[in-house]
Amino acid sequence: MAARVVTVDRNQKASVLPILEGFGVTLKIFFDSLFRRRTSTIEFPEQKRNVSSRYRGIHVLTEREDGTPKCVACYMCATACPAECIYIEAGERPEKTIEKYPTRFEIDLLRCVYCGFCVDACPEEAIIMSRENDLVGTTRAELIIDRDRLMARSKLVEHGPGYRPADHDVRRPVRIAALERLKAEHGIVPGMPKKPAR
């Protein structure tokens, strides 16, 4: 909700009038919320605020069409993670084309600082963030979420996807910086060169 900007002249002489004006504002809001239901608060948790589609909430592991994780257990996210909250164990995938996948993938949400570097580092778009932000648990252990809970898509449906590499590089400061350095220092723009038109 946008705030109204008020300019106050500090040099005016003190008087009763501004105080009454202030009371007037208070009364107006009081009656507005009492009779016209125009409140600035929401009924959390039944109601939730709309957050940005770039919101960095609880992580989601995306999956392939067959329901297996997209993740290939390359440990890039664990390497980039400044909080060291990602634990991965890799295993052999039955199909030989992909070879590797995570048999364990755990994020300690209590250690996580929600910086989104894991999303930036991921070469496969396998880890993205959702807009889910209410983190509740009665034990520490249940806030270390494992692969199956990370892959639960229902969270995405309910809260919507958050920070993710959808609109190429616009939101990926780490990658942009690396690419800019590559271009400035070596004159290289990675990727396939454009094929000449025939």
Binding site: V72, C74, T79, G91, E92, E99, K100, P123, P190, M192
Partner: protein, 530 residues
């Protein structure tokens, strides 16, 4: 002794030295794939092209000998352009599957792409030549797509093991390496194939998907598997050893080590380790603190005096052996270490590459310190005769010998320093937890009489302590302290007390070890194959 200039730095090298070796000595790293310091020159990858002044064409540094007054530029525009183009050529059919490749982080392709390549690819992924992936060759996994055909593995097979298991098959850009009918690698040096492979084509099956290499910290050490004493680096993450790798030492193991040695990291983990002291109670074992167990050993030794026997272990470091010998001398009992006669096998080969029949790393150190004194047979005979009242063992070796069981059963007090649990420990009265080779500082003396240092890589489990500390603890309780608080100080005592060791300094031993004068001329550990 020709003198040359490489990238503005001058160096004088022996006649016949190649440019790449001279550059290595100067600390100039020339990019390479096929050149390996311990294999013959093949010159097939063309990655090491450098510009030599007054020579019209670029030369490959690995096969160009240094001549007087040669001026070499390794990073001149012409050389850099050639290196970059060569790399692009090598990478034409590379699958770029770094995320799933275990070589990532120690891959020559990655390093050299960042150092010398940095171009955009001109080949679409779909246009690349597909080859075999995930081929199981026993201890090695082959991925032919990642191969740059440098032939290092072929040369290793030919020159080091002499097995010739790998060969190139097919032609042109369909060339790939293969074993005959995809049979497994059968010799005991397969792990080296993964090490010599500069890319991810040959990878260790054991290390597969276990850990990304950039998480690992390496610690210099020495393999405890046999009397050869191969230099290794212990790669560890968060106190857990993930793998052993050979560390280059031209005088001992070159760049190689055997697979049984490589597997020794598995003994370091905490399962099955002795992590606390225990003494035999009325009915069963009672766990006690190490201090209480040492009290028990000290009081027993004080009581029995010269009726005690000490058996050192060739698995222990020189420091362990020295402290143990000091303990034996303080109490005044019999002393030996030659369980199973390792001294007879110390130089004996069991293959033509590295392995030796004596499976102890420090038999020579025990011999040098004169621990082999009274004879194991005589000691066992004394045990059988009931003349021995206390037996202190530096390792459980004798407890595993079937012929010795009856003799040891006659001894009322048996203290043993052990690293691993086992049924043989039930024959002891006191068990002291000992640290393993990767958990303690110290030195081993190998069969050539080369004194080599090992550094502690990971913490010992529970209360386990280096064996010399356990012996020193008993000595303190006997009011005859050793007078040394660290492995370095113990080594100073070793150097003082042992003939030939006087010239050695713990820190000066360094990463490559120091050779002592040997009775037989120091034989190279690896037989040169014609």
């Amino acid at each position: 002794m020709p003198k040359c200039t490489i990238d503005g730095k001058e160096i004088e090298v022996p006649t016949g030295t190649t440019v790449i070796r001279a550059a290595e000595e100067l600390g100039v790293r020339i990019p390479r794939f096929c050149w390996h310091p311990d294999l013959t020159v093949d010159g097939n990858c063309r990655m090491c092209q450098v510009e030599v002044e007054k020579v019209p064409k670029l030369q490959i540094a690995c096969n160009t000998q240094v001549t007087e007054g040669m001026v070499v530029h390794t990073r001149s525009p012409r050389a850099a352009e050639a290196q970059r183009t060569t790399l692009e050529f090598l990478l034409v059919n590379h699958p770029i599957d770094c995320p799933v490749c275990d070589q990532a982080g120690e891959c020559y392709l990655q390093d050299q792409y960042m150092g010398h390549g940095l171009y955009g690819s001109k080949v679409e992924l779909e246009d690349k030549v597909r080859k075999r992936k995930v081929v199981d060759l026993g201890p090695i996994m082959l991925d032919a797509e990642r191969c740059v055909l440098c032939s290092r593995c072929l040369r290793f097979e030919r020159e080091v093991t002499g097995t010739n298991l790998l060969e190139f098959v097919n032609r042109g850009d369909h060339t790939q390496i293969s074993t005959f009918e995809n049979g497994p690698i059968t010799h005991e040096y397969a792990g080296n194939l993964a090490d010599v492979c500069p890319v991810g084509a040959l990878l260790s099956h054991d290390f597969r998907f276990k850990m990304r290499v950039w998480f690992l910290k390496e610690h210099e050490s020495v393999c405890p598997g046999c009397s050869t004493g191969c230099n290794v680096s212990v790669d560890e993450r968060d106190g857990e050893v993930q793998r052993l790798r050979p560390r280059r030492n031209v005088d001992v193991n070159k760049s190689w080590m055997c697979d049984p040695g490589r597997a020794l990291y598995k003994q370091i983990g905490v399962t099955g380790r002795v992590s606390g002291a225990r003494v035999r109670g009325a009915a069963s074992w009672e766990g006690v603190s190490v201090a209480a167990a040492l009290d028990r050993v000290a009081s027993a030794l004080k009581e029995k005096g010269a009726a005690s026997v000490f058996l050192a272990s060739p698995q222990g470091t020189n420091e362990d052996v020295f402290a143990f010998k000091a303990l034996a001398q303080a109490v005044g009992g019999k002393l030996d270490f030659r369980v199973g006669d390792p001294q007879k096998k110390v130089g004996e080969r069991i293959d033509h590459v590295l392995q030796r029949a004596d499976r102890n790393p420090n038999t020579q150190g025990c011999l040098d310190q004169g621990v082999g004194r009274d004879g194991v047979d005589a000691i066992l005979a004394a045990c059988r005769a009931g003349a021995v009242e206390a037996l202190v063992l530096q390792g459980p070796e004798i407890l595993r010998v079937p012929e010795a069981v009856d003799a040891i059963a006659k001894v009322p007090f048996v203290a043993v320093m052990a690293t691993h649990e086992g049924p043989e420990l039930d024959r002891a009265t006191v068990v002291l937890p000992a640290a393993l080779w990767a958990e303690a500082e110290g030195t081993f003396t190998n069969f050539q009489r080369r004194v080599q240092r090992l550094k502690a890589a990971v913490p010992a489990p529970g209360d386990a302590q280096p064996r010399w500390e356990l012996a020193a603890g008993v000595l303190v309780r006997l009011a005859q302290p050793l007078g040394a608080a660290t492995a370095r100080e113990v080594f100073a005592l070793v150097a003082k007390a042992t003939p030939d060791y006087a010239s050695l300094d713990y820190r000066a031993i360094g990463s490559q070890g120091q050779a002592l004068p040997s009775a037989e001329a120091a034989a190279p550990a690896q037989e040169a194959r014609a």
